[in-house]
């Protein structure tokens, strides 16, 4: 065997190794991209204990207990909410309060009290005022799905998903604060078959001012956006001849529906983390009797695994309302007394927060807080290096997530209660043009 043959064999071997390396890298890349798209499930990814689980009573939600008067103490506290005197502290001045009031203005005008869960209010009415006599016939389910989602995006949604109406995640009974009466699904104008779930973005820089009043400005604006978007989408569907009712905080549980529509995964703080935005979104929905659509499937993105090891929101929460448990469970652990558990929808495998503790901090702060959203490592603006971190997160094993949380803090992210961020917001505002911005 001469030297030349050996040399060519060696080169062939090296070429083979290089080719195999490229193939492995390509396969790895494809795997990561696939995982970032989310793993599909046929049902809610969180297991449900059928012995414990039942549809939630809207009266037990903290916002309804306070807004509807079911808890006299919370109701009394709510009367003074967002009415405290201005302070000489960045984020707590008349300027910041004005930002909040401007943000709420559209929601308050178009759908009064919807933030407390008031159903059938204003633009979110159950009346079918725009229902056409003739029903538009789509050529295919794909065409119908695309039409609905594109309309939702045009009307202001960041993303839209479609799932079936699920009585498990609707309020068992709703409460009309204005008319002081309970309402059931027998009162609903039609039997809903489909729920179109939309999310609207909250601004990153404004959210970073949490828990200052400034942060409430983007929360309020997102609610106003949702009222507008869901109302427009419901009119769109009614104009096609199909019954539709827009809903923001009423009728059903938004995080559950967002998960069922494949938009995101449940997080430790009880919100939904959606790819590229974290829980920096607000959720709305439209109930309709139109069912000629391709339904989205729930997806998991590795969020639950990350939340198990991260706990940054729980550590940042000023009222310790968020669970610090290592593992999720089927009922709250913030109280050993099962009589207290009515405040959460039990029976679903997740982390349970003490919403009343959270609400009491809102009262003390005189503004909704947002610290859990702002501090979350998933909450990042649209820059390439965050997408790279998201990609590495889907393949990193559990304990690495704890290290990633520490690096998130080390690199200067998730810092809250910072007056400098309030000053920065008022100086620079939201990002301009294509410097960086949201994309669907």
């Amino acid at each position: 065997m001469n030297k030349k043959t050996n040399q060519s064999r060696r080169n062939f071997f090296k070429l083979g190794i290089a080719g195999a390396g490229i193939a492995v890298a390509a396969a790895g890349g494809a795997f990561v991209f696939n995982r970032m798209e989310g793993k599909e499930h046929d049902d809610m990814p969180n297991p449900i204990d059928k012995k414990l689980f039942k549809p939630f009573e809207q009266k037990n939600a903290v916002t309804m207990r306070a807004g509807g008067g079911f808890d006299p103490e919370l109701h009394k506290m709510l009367q003074g909410f967002e009415k405290q005197p201005y302070r000489n502290v960045p984020g707590y001045t008349q300027l910041d309060r004005a930002l909040v009031e401007g943000g709420w203005s559209t929601s308050n005008y178009m759908a009064p009290m919807q933030a407390y869960g008031q159903p059938n209010s204003g633009a979110l009415s159950w009346e079918q005022h725009h229902l056409h006599d003739t029903q538009y016939k789509f050529g295919s389910k794909q065409e119908a799905t695309a039409a609905i989602k594109h309309a939702a995006l045009l009307y202001g949604a960041l993303r839209a998903g479609i799932c079936r109406n699920d009585p498990r995640f609707n309020y068992r009974e709703m409460y009309d604060i204005k008319r002081e009466k309970s309402m059931t699904w027998d009162d609903f104008p039609f039997k809903p078959k489909t729920v179109i779930v939309v999310v609207c973005e909250m601004n990153y820089e404004c959210m970073a001012t949490a828990p200052a009043w400034t942060e409430s400005g983007t929360v309020a604006m997102a609610y106003s956006d949702l009222v507008k978007t869901t109302y427009s989408l419901s009119v769109f569907l009614q104009s096609l001849g199909y019954q539709a009712v827009p809903s923001v905080n009423g009728e059903g549980i938004n995080p559950a529906y967002a998960i069922m529509a494949g938009l995101g995964e449940g997080a430790r703080n009880g919100a939904v983390i959606i790819p590229e935005y974290g829980c920096r979104v607000r959720i709305g929905k439209v109930y309709t009797d139109f069912d000629f659509v391709e339904y989205d499937k729930p997806r998991s993105y590795g969020v639950m695994s990350f939340c198990r090891h991260c706990k940054k929101c729980a550590m940042s929460c000023p009222s310790q309302a968020i669970s610090m448990d290592d593992e999720p469970g089927y009922h709250p652990t913030w109280s050993k007394n099962p009589d207290d558990w009515f405040k959460n929808q039990i029976g679903i495998y997740k982390f349970y927060s003490n919403s009343e503790k959270c609400f009491r901090f809102w009262i003390q702060n005189d503004g909704d807080c947002g610290i859990c959203i702002a501090s979350c490592p998933y909450n990042k603006p649209a820059f390439w290096h965050h997408r790279l971190v998201d990609a590495s997160n889907v393949i990193a094993p559990g304990p690495v997530h704890t290290i990633m949380r520490e690096f998130d803090t080390l690199f200067g992210y998730g810092h809250v209660n910072d007056p400098a961020k309030v000053k920065r917001w008022w100086k620079y505002g939201p990002p301009k043009g294509k410097l960086y911005g949201s994309k669907a």
Partner: protein, 90 residues
Amino acid sequence: MMMITFYIVGILAAGSAWWLIRLSQRYQINWIPLTGLAIGIAMILFCIAWSVGSALEGVPRAAAMGVVFFGFPGIVLLTLIGRYVTRSVK
């Protein structure tokens, strides 16, 4: 601005690849130190892209930490392997 940064990083990456190929042809460098040089250069280019992105985002601390975690090790790696290659060539 980020697009300009990637454009410049792309030019630097291409230039670095050309330089490494020329270097290996001229001095018959083994593939192990050559890979080490490539990794060092990749880390520095990554550091540039990361730090510019973080600075544009308005988080200068992340930009600085990027230099510490990506740029500095890249420079160290390049220096050490560069000295090894220089010695072995002599």
